[in-house]
Subunit: 398 residues, 2 copies
């Protein structure tokens, strides 16, 4: 008997589909293209020889731990150090409320595992992170978007959306927010709005998931108060070492109120047993060497220059396009003139050897056809300028 | 408003509970105890200085890859090498059918994500791996056990169970089998039975999940044909580097038929984005250096000596207890005399400074009270003998 097995798949499997963005990554390494689509960190900014020596030292001196199973919650020493990293943004946390995860993507997966039954509502900014939408889809959640502007998600619209859901007896389980230098919009949630958002979520009894991978990659501004800081019992905070150290280690974390944390730990144990001790002790050793402050400073300067190069090129070559100017992070968001479809235009852009991410992937409700996400994190300033010039030619042709 | 959040948890959260085994691990590092409970590899057998230098070299020469995001399916070079590892047991596989995972535990989680809706039936050996039962519980599966004997799962019982489920219109989605040196029983599925099991599963249209972390850790016997080898289209094969190299890297894999593989990749992307490039290139470099054959030989000798020490001590101190003699792997399985409850006896054992795992954790149906899993992987032969002597005192006292 020959099976395709599709008739045996779980109901959620229909939502396990290839990301629109995935195919774009295949050209990421082809130097003929300017890749404004990905969101890969600039690993050229890392001191590879130093990290190599640190790695050798970890295995030579602590190999019996680094190469062994760890515990589900994560190595105590790394959980001691993570609050110090969070304190750089003025966020307080205790080692006891932290779980180390296989990147913050796993933390998001675990939060869904603990909270989301099929059909449950998750509120997300419009637009929102494509990888989060994929996770929500895998848990068969119903994503309801709330619009944002240049100051982030709009509190009145959030309150109205929650009230209207309540009227139909649908209480959202989670409010997913990326408050700093949002992926994909580049927007930052304004300080006054943060207090309002937290108050509204608390009033409706909705857990906030605060995803903050880019907070330390700030160019022009001091940190604004974290949502977790404003209501520690009502927020699951997600952090990541991918943008401030290395994405290849797959190291992130969540900080959560005790009853949630306990479930996250059990969920992680049933998913991966424990996070990698090899990666954990590498990060821990890196932090112990006081390398982070210097590294973050270097990353900020590199990405600020790239942001500036992109903004200048956009002003020079595409003055008719509405652009969001990010104060940190990796991304900016374009709104094209009426009548241009960003997804349809991609084939022509690829023919012109420039790639971007169409806006549609960042909405769960079919919007985004007139939008583009551009990333400046990976190409050089010169390539960014060349890429925007190519893109302008394509837009003008449309 | 103060929440405990428990009223917002998903239905599956009630199954996300702390493993019975977890608390035992807390004494794992206390030298006053002989720990026969865990299943940690003996990392003392690893050449730490060599691995440290290899690690340094990976980061120094390929840091831009090792510290960067990878792809969901895993690094092509590692997927080329994994079939060579599988060939050591006579199993054929192609790089295209492989997905690299964060330990084989994640592979099992992903298989459940693709196949299991709440209430779906999974067939598992009785007893079965406690970590797999935790994953099945997290997906709200209904585990139906089929008994095994010293030759593994009994084909006639499997066929009868499947027929009786079919009669009530319940077709199991998965048949979970650990054919070699099973955790916890130590049994190996006999060669003739393998053909029968594959035939029966195929007849009833049940996907087999073949979990084989211990296959290369064989003491006395040549490898028997893998279930995957007998029916490539009907088996998802799970492999692991945890027992043949390092558990701390969290590196495992699955080999699956194409339509299943495509879903596993999407499921992995939504769970962790990609497996760690840092760990992947470390394993790849280790394999490229032809270290595996030598390392496996060393592990086999170490664990064979420990198995022998445990068997001798059991014969000397506990001749009245029924013991399964494993031909490989990490575990043996005891059946205590009538009237002794292995879970109740644990407190007394801990007072005598020896710990083991009660049998109850390895059943989804409440059995196992007269059973004990003993692991010989971690303690020295001398400690194993001392531990069994202590355990005998406790059993006799009961």
């Amino acid at each position: 008997m020959q099976h395709t097995w599709a008739d045996r798949f779980a109901s959620r499997a229909s939502g396990l589909v290839s990301s629109e963005v995935r195919s774009l990554f295949s050209v990421a390494s082809d130097p003929a293209y300017v890749n404004l689509a990905g969101g890969s960190p600039d690993v050229g900014a890392l001191a590879l020889e130093e990290i190599a020596e640190l790695t050798r030292h970890v295995v030579a001196t602590r190999g019996a731990e680094a190469l062994q199973y760890g515990t589900g919650q994560g190595a105590p020493e790394l959980r001691e150090q993570i609050p110090v990293v969070m304190a750089e943004e003025g966020i307080s946390a205790s080692p006891d409320e932290i779980i180390v995860t296989t990147g913050s993507q796993q933390a998001l997966d675990l939060v869904c595992k603990v909270f989301i039954d099929p059909g449950d509502v998750i509120i997300a900014e419009a637009p929102s992170y494509v990888g989060a939408l994929a996770t929500f889809r895998a848990y068969e959640a119903d994503v309801v978007h709330v619009d944002q502007d240049a100051d982030g998600i709009v509190p009145d619209l959030l309150a109205a959306t929650l009230a209207s859901l309540q009227a139909t007896r649908r209480t959202p389980k989670l409010l997913y927010v990326i408050p700093n230098f949002q992926n994909p919009s580049g927007s930052t949630l304004a300080g006054a709005r943060r207090r309002e958002i937290v108050r509204i979520a608390d009033r409706f009894g909705v857990m906030i998931v605060e995803d903050n991978p880019y907070g330390l990659i700030s160019f022009d501004t001091d940190p604004l108060p974290a949502l977790k800081e404003l209501n520690p019992d009502g927020v699951v905070y997600l952090g990541s070492f991918s943008k401030i150290f290395s994405a290849g280690l797959r190291m992130g974390w969540a900080a959560a109120p005790p009853p949630v944390l306990e479930k996250l730990i059990c969920a992680s144990e049933s998913s991966v047993l424990s996070p990698s001790m090899y990666s954990q002790l590498t990060v821990s050793s890196y932090l112990a060497g006081n390398n982070l402050t210097r590294q973050v400073k270097a990353f900020r300067e590199i990405y600020r220059d790239k942001r500036d190069a992109m903004m200048l090129a956009l002003a020079d070559y595409l003055p008719e396009v509405r652009v969001n100017r990010p104060a940190g992070g990796f991304f900016t968001w374009l709104t094209l003139p009426d009548g241009i479809d960003s997804k349809g235009m991609l084939a022509e852009a690829m023919a012109a050897h420039v790639v971007y991410t169409p806006g549609t992937g960042f909405y769960a409700d079919g919007r985004g056809h007139s939008n583009i996400r551009l990333s400046y994190s990976s190409p050089t300033p010169e390539n960014i300028r060349a890429g925007i010039e190519r893109l302008a030619g394509v837009v003008r042709h449309e």
